[in-house]
Amino acid sequence: MTLAELKEGERARIVRVSGEEAVKRHLGALGFVAGTVVRVVGESYGNMILAVHESRIAVNDATARDIDVDAV
């Protein structure tokens, strides 16, 4: 499943990040790599605020759909 399917408060482990090369690289630098656990802090019209490590990263729905996750 993808990150976009998670609901507020849910946690998941990243399996893979796909999409545009540069964006993928940027997401990687921010901690979106396979194995990292993320938590959905907030959600609004499909756009999400995610807790990754100790930071909060906002992504839009298209980006959330590019991140495959497993439930924890």
Binding site: G19, V33, G35, V41, N47, E54, R56, A58, T63
Partner: protein, 867 residues
């Protein structure tokens, strides 16, 4: 400075880098741009160390080329090479921050890691083992708190010490001791790459280069000029790793870096478990601020606050602007909160200025009324040719004694009716305060104030001179007055005086006059940015702006544009997507800036007193252009395609520091102030010249402006403005001079209209538009909208060209803006005239045709996305 040590300050965004930089360098900072690109570069001298320069790199997450900032930073670090690195790390988010640190460590430069926000780390009950991190990353680690100014200086001194030692030790090629963070097979491949690129790169950074080659970083591979055969060999090694680990090379590096950090954190970081996974205060605030329904109202509310502070009538922005324009930059001002009693001996001694003005108005009315009556008397029975029109020097005492002017009054400025009486009785004073009509106490209050003037009263009235503001209260002379005084004392000719006062200073002063409004806008935005709210705005607005081909990050430039277009265009750099960035640059200046607000204010006062909504509508029109322009541009082949991703870190909310907000505000404001010196100043001198000289270079008096060079220049291009309803040399000259600085439109209009009939500058301008068109209001509206929505002032145009990155794109932007401004003015005027009954003409047809084209551009089906 050639021998000074260069220390690069590098770290993630929101790690407290700017705070530390300001603390380390104090006021000794030099802001410039990196050569060739427009990313801000800040250098500063380390306090107490004249020979050490701190170089503030942009806040970045990685040394991979994602944004312009990352490209610039890594080029600087690996090519120019600082003597050492001071890496600032957010201690409350150390895992993520170390990702960047591991890359910095691979550069092989002496490095000190300053772990910031240690006060918060301690308060949270977390423990970080600096020793283990230092050992793993082969660098020094110190804890600091930039906000509380603790430890920063010690960290800087430590890095200086290391840099000095390294300079001494600098020998020929020594393999640096850098951390090895990857798994066996990857390390094996990297070792092979190192072998093949040896000699091509500085030895100390060889590992960094080798990793980049492993990642297939195109820029680096091209730079190293690795041979085809060699590359094939390297490629084999990389593919082996990819096969073994089941991922692409770049992802392998990224995730193994994080694995390394994870293992390091397991040993060196003890998190207070009770906090884990709990919603922070920031999360709770975000529940409201990014709420699907509440988000927009909260944002609009904050905009209203900004609008009130900056441009609302009687808000702090307008009050300060008035003070700057009329006081500080012009004649002078009263020290506030003091009484304004008259100091000078004479009729007004002890009076407040307003009372003195009232008294003078009365006496002046008495004087003119009596003189009129006197002239009427002595002209009695004379033929028109013999009539005395002006008051003779000698007054016939006998006749004068018989003359009494009846029912003299002071006109109300707005209505022309006599002013009402105001008595001092208690009853009336109370009623006046509560705003009620004052009647019934029999004192005559509220009735027209009429009186009679006899010869004695006339003689008394003649003694009154207009009260001089400078004689009231504590008066501080303004810069304009000081300059005039200085020139008078120096005894320069009138020409030079006019050049300096009207030409050069006048231009610079108009620009500086808007500093208060712009300052308030920037101060407010700096506060919103520094406290963390602006990142949320970008997030909230992304959903909406995406539809117009923009990004959520486009909103910040547009907000900055309310203050000044120049920093607005520059603020667009933060947008990574090139299409969205270009579109933002083209559209951001449609928001009426501080200077355009002046045009709006003047035209509202002169032409649209009853149409109060016209002023507010201009902001709405600006936003509408951005929305519709965005939609239309997105459908062209230049901007087609989806900017699909949005990724932005939301920093935790925090109270901004005074010095942080100040630095932020000043950095933006500085550009505006500098432009007044560098561009407006010479431009105004030129403008003054063409306004005051004819082609034979004779100096002209103010009334002779129709002989001026400006008149001819304006006449040549006036035909262009004919369809817009102001096709005269005056309208053309004002519109062209508005390109120097938008507010110049109002100043030039005042000067070129000076020969029109009317008592005040305002009525000159009204008369000018009346002479231009049968529908002066529509012509005025057209003139105003033309000047608001054509390309911004020349400084903003110059910045647009620079930010667009090429001449072609620069012209595209200016062409688009010109088209929008022209079509808008044409449509408003010609269709307005048609509706008002002025008939249909060729220009009306053109207006409809262009509007139809615009509608087509907006509503035509979108292009199919390129695969």
């Amino acid at each position: 400075m050639a021998n000074s040590l260069k220390i690069a300050l590098a770290g993630n965004p929101n790690s407290g880098k700017t705070t530390l930089f300001n603390a380390l360098t104090g006021s000794e900072q030099y802001v410039g741009n990196w050569p060739g690109v427009t990313v801000e570069k800040k250098d500063g001298i380390l306090s107490g160390h004249k020979d050490v320069i701190i170089q503030d790199l942009p806040g970045i997450y990685s040394l991979s080329p994602y944004s312009i900032e990352e490209k610039v930073s890594r080029r600087f670090l690996v090519e120019e090479g600082p003597d050492a690195i001071l890496n600032i790390v957010d201690g409350t988010n150390i895992e993520r921050n170390l990702y960047f640190s591991t890359q910095l460590a691979e550069l092989g430069l002496p490095m000190v890691m300053a772990v910031n926000m240690m006060d918060v780390v301690k308060k949270n009950g977390d423990k970080i083992d600096f020793g283990k991190i230092a050992k793993a990353l082969r660098c020094e680690v110190v804890g600091i708190s930039a906000l509380k100014n603790e430890g920063g200086m010690e960290a800087a001194e430590k890095v200086v010490e290391m840099a000095k030692k390294a300079v001494v030790e600098k020998g020929p090629g020594k393999l640096p001791d850098v951390p090895h963070v990857f798994s066996g097979s990857v390390e094996h491949a990297i070792a092979h790459i190192e072998e093949s690129i040896q000699g091509k790169v500085p030895l100390r950074s060889i590992r960094w280069y080798a990793i980049k080659v492993f990642e297939r970083d195109r820029e680096i591979i091209k730079k190293l000029e690795i041979g085809v055969g060699e590359m094939k060999h390297i490629e084999e090694h990389i593919r082996d790793c990819e096969k073994e680990l089941g991922d692409d090379a770049e992802s392998i590096i990224t995730s193994q870096r994080y694995d390394f950090i994870k293992r390091l954190m397991d040993k060196s970081l003890a998190l207070n478990e009770s906090r884990k996974g709990k919603a922070t205060l920031s999360d709770k605030i975000d529940k409201f601020v990014t709420h699907r329904i509440l988000a927009l109202p909260i944002f609009i509310l904050s905009l209203c606050v900004m609008w009130f502070l900056a441009v609302a009538e009687n808000g702090p922005g307008t009050v300060l602007t008035d003070w700057a324009n009329d006081g500080f930059l012009a004649d002078g001002w009263h020290v506030p909160f003091t009484t304004h009693e008259c100091r000078a001996e004479g009729k007004y001694k002890g009076m407040e200025f307003e009372d003195a003005q009232g008294e003078f108005a009365k006496q002046d009315a008495s004087k003119s009324a009596w003189e009129e009556a006197y002239l009427e008397k002595i002209n009695e029975g004379k033929s028109d040719d013999d009539k005395v029109e002006e008051m003779p020097e000698e007054i016939d005492e006998k006749v004068a004694a018989t003359i009494v002017a009846k029912d003299v009054f002071v006109e109300d400025e707005e209505t022309g009716e006599p002013l009402a009486k105001e008595c001092d009785c208690e009853n009336c004073a109370k009623k006046r305060e509560s705003g009620e009509e004052c009647e019934g106490c029999g004192c005559g209050c509220g009735e027209p104030d009429l009186w009679d003037v006899d010869f004695a009263a006339y003689k008394a009235a003649k003694e009154f001179e207009e009260p001089d503001l400078k004689q009231f209260g504590v008066w501080v002379p303004g810069l304009g007055a000081l300059i005039t005084d200085a020139l008078d004392k120096a005894g320069v000719s009138d020409t030079v005086k006019s050049l300096v006062v009207d030409g050069a200073w006048g231009g610079v002063a108009t620009v500086l006059g808007f500093v208060p409004v712009i300052f308030i806008v920037f101060l407010f935005l700096a506060f919103l940015e520094d406290c963390g709210y602006m990142a949320r705005v970008a997030f909230i607005m992304d959903r909406l702006l995406r539809r117009f081909g923009l990004s959520g990050k486009s909103f910040i430039p547009m907000l900055v544009g309310k203050g000044c277009g120049v920093p607005a265009v520059m603020a667009a750099r933060a947008i990574e997507n090139e299409r969205a960035r270009r579109m933002t640059v083209i559209l951001a200046t449609f928001v009426p800036c501080g200077a355009k607000t002046v045009i709006i204010a003047m035209f509202s006062a002169l032409f649209f007193r009853e149409q109060w909504y016209v002023a507010a509508m201009m902001d709405v029109v600006g936003i509408a252009i951005i929305v519709l322009g965005g939609i239309a541009l997105k459908k062209t082949r230049f901007f087609a395609g989806e900017a699909s991703s949005f990724v932005l870190e939301l920093p935790a909310y925090h109270m901004p520091t005074v010095s942080g907000v100040w630095h932020h505000t000043w950095n933006r404001l500085k550009g505006y102030v500098l432009k007044s010196g560098l561009i407006i100043f010479p431009a105004c001198v030129v403008l003054w010249f063409v306004m005051h000289f004819d082609w034979s270079l004779n100096l002209l008096a103010d009334e002779e402006i129709e002989k001026s060079i400006l008149h001819d220049l304006g006449s040549w291009i006036a035909w262009m403005f004919e369809p817009l309803g102001f096709g005269s040399w005056q309208g053309a000259a004002a519109s062209v001079s508005a390109e120097i600085a938008k507010e110049q439109a109002t100043a030039t209009l005042g000067l070129v209209a000076a020969n029109m009939d009317g008592a005040t500058t305002g009525s000159h301008i009204q008369a000018l538009f009346a002479s231009l068109s049968d529908f002066p209001k529509l012509a005025a509206l057209s003139f105003m909208m033309f000047n608001l929505f054509v390309p911004p002032c020349m400084v903003a145009i110059a910045v647009t060209f620079r930010e667009m990155g090429s001449q072609k794109w620069g012209w595209f932007a200016v062409g688009f803006q010109l088209f929008v401004g022209y079509v808008l003015a044409l449509s408003v005027y010609r269709i307005g005239v048609l509706v008002a009954g002025g008939g249909f003409g060729i220009w009306t047809a053109l207006a409809f045709a262009l509007d139809a084209f615009c509608l087509w551009a907006i509503f035509r089906p979108a292009r199919k996305e390129r695969a």
